[in-house]
Subunit: 390 residues, 2 copies
């Protein structure tokens, strides 16, 4: 037992859960994972695999709670009502159900941040078509983002409205007719770059911050993330522009306090005209935190586990001056029979992380690789790892 | 497939195998493990667990070979005849069966090294009691080590003979009556300290060396291992004495060549009067290489896997100036129900590694922890992790 915990329960058995397993085992604790897919990466590597009918399977949630002394999750689109039942029965869940309920609705997430003094892009709830048309006219018929308030990821649930005829299509496609709480509109921010800060907050409110990460996307899916061990780049220049590093960390700190976060959270930000706006908060370990596995003293995964156990958080210092990570994304659908390009990646010094997924889908995250050291970014571009699919 | 390998087979499912698993999975490969104990740390974490009747179970060896594209092992006391059958059937085994056969017999191990110009303590085969008595007289009735040629570890299989009346006891206890090839006598080396070098050698003969490690033992079991990132200690002094670092690496290189090693090997040495003598060679990843998990760019485990796959070996550079490791050893027999002292260890910055063994035995390795940074050795002494047993 560590602070009363023998078994940690994780909702979701994908790669984020997988990357937590190793650190849980090292502490001598057990793991239970709930996932509807028996071929998910975690299923065959945990002490208890809870085979759920779906992520709405109440019985499975109860079984997970019975098997676990504390519950956490690796994605935020979880049925909050089910979690409340567990919480009311006395089960410990981190991050808290209250904070999850606010964050999983992008509209209430933004409202909460705005109230807390955190700058976000201008946004408004869109309960119906009338309101959508009114918004379009009010904002001078300029392009904007129509967003699902719930369940979006990797660009899914977002629709860039550019013309009047897009309105009805977007509204319908994003499920606007299903209820008045489904959609929101958000101004289109012309950003210079996207940054993110992963932070871990302990049960006692202590907080550690990972280096500010610069992210690039392809088809709305994270493609690369780079982190420096200081505000100064490899040429001695302050790579983020004066004060932006501190602003970013400060925003992340505010976000952790705003949501009373426990564990690792990611705050994604737009840098626009020297200002930083929070684009989105993930109440969990995050893809842009993957470089921390190979480039930091304590990874975001280990610190997440330490946080929910009430342990002292580990150093987020880098063990290398620079690290660059690239995702391995599925290009086609089918069974994965292997990967191309791993040999060369290893040859060039990459830390390769394949997630052991059974199937590839277009846009699905199948792995990533990280290169550390001054030449990381250049080397990254020489590597192309690709799933071989049948 | 990486160079024709989809699945790696490991003989032995203990902690050394466990620490390889993570790196095999990350490369996107599968693992098969053979171990007679279904509660061994690896059993529930691998793609194929081969439930052997014993480590002499021929059918199980064949099943492992069928499930694997390359076979390696995590301990050296394996039935070589069984391995030869697999090798003759065309299965790839690394390190090679030839080198294992020589190394697993301490007498032939020493003979091979002596022939190769590697200095070892003076030794002689002891086929029977007459020879033992003769040895005792020849060496002026001075204390010496009587050793089992096969199967010893953690001081097991060694008997320190100090008086004439020990001779018969030692001979009997170490199984001298079972056959003429069972025992050897070795001079007692008065050493200043014990050092070891873990090296990894690729299929192409390329070789990388980890920092020279200084080891201490308790009850003949490894207790602590310390590594520096340079020949100079934290006070700027050459900590090993002039030239000893280079001698140690040179000895390790000779050992790798002598046995035509493939994968990670450990060479244990005695430092005596500025000379280095090889005490023992382990043709596998080694306990004194555990600090490499948390303190080096590429661990001994990852490099072992890279080696047997024919991949480029990774950097053995340290990511911290100093690292100190301590073993967590069983103090009593019984079922493990938890551990004491983990919270404080994490608090002080230790990387804790518990091996998930079901039972504790006196002298059994249950875990280890490593501290990195200049204060590591002092901090190490403040930590005491202990299994709670029922």
């Amino acid at each position: 037992m560590i602070n009363g915990v023998k078994t940690i329960g994780i909702i979701g058995g994908g790669q984020l859960g997988l990357m937590m397993l190793e650190f849980i085992r090292r502490l001598g604790l057990k793991v239970a994972v709930l996932d509807p897919d028996p071929n998910c990466p975690c299923a065959k590597r945990v002490d208890h695999y809870i085979d759920a009918k779906s992520f709405n399977d109440r019985v499975a949630f109860l079984r997970l709670a019975q098997a676990s002394d504390v519950i956490t999750y690796e994605f935020e689109h979880i049925n909050v009502a089910l979690l409340r039942i567990l919480e009311q029965a006395g089960h410990k869940i981190y991050p808290s159900v209250d904070s999850l309920a606010i964050i999983q609705d992008k509209y209430t997430q933004n409202l909460a941040m705005e109230k807390f003094g955190i700058e976000v892009p201008k946004f408004v709830a869109i309960p119906n078509m009338e309101e959508l048309n009114a918004y379009w006219c009010r904002y001078e018929k300029k392009p904007f983002m129509l967003k699902s308030r719930f369940g979006g990821y990797d660009g899914k649930g977002n629709f860039l409205v550019q013309h009047e005829q897009d309105l009805e299509t977007a509204f319908k496609q994003l499920g606007g007719y299903a209820g008045e709480d489904r959609l929101m509109a958000e101004e289109l921010v012309k950003f210079k770059r996207e940054l993110s800060v992963v932070a871990t907050r302990g049960l006692d409110g202590s907080c550690v911050f990972y280096p500010v990460a610069e992210n690039t996307h392809k088809n709305s899916i994270l493609d690369t993330t780079c982190i420096y061990d200081s505000k100064v780049d490899l040429f001695g220049n302050e790579w983020l522009g004066e004060g932006v590093w501190d602003q970013a960390v400060d925003l992340s700190r505010k976000v952790m306090e705003c949501f009373d976060g426990v564990g690792s959270f990611c705050t994604e930000m737009f840098e626009a005209d020297g200002r930083l706006l929070v684009n989105e908060v993930a109440p969990r370990v995050h893809n842009s935190g993957h470089p921390t596995l190979d480039a930091c003293v304590t990874s975001q995964f280990e610190n997440h586990i330490r946080a929910i156990l009430g342990l002292t958080l580990g150093s987020t210092e880098m063990t290398t001056p620079f690290a660059a990570m690239k995702n391995i994304i599925g290009c086609e659908n089918g069974k994965i029979i292997g990967f191309e390009g791993r040999e060369k990646a290893v040859d060039l010094g990459a830390h390769v992380h394949i997630y052991d997924k059974a199937a590839s889908k277009v846009g699905r995250k199948l792995g990533h690789f990280t290169i550390c050291g001054k030449d990381a970014y250049g080397l990254l571009k020489k590597i192309n790892i690709k799933a071989i699919v049948r």
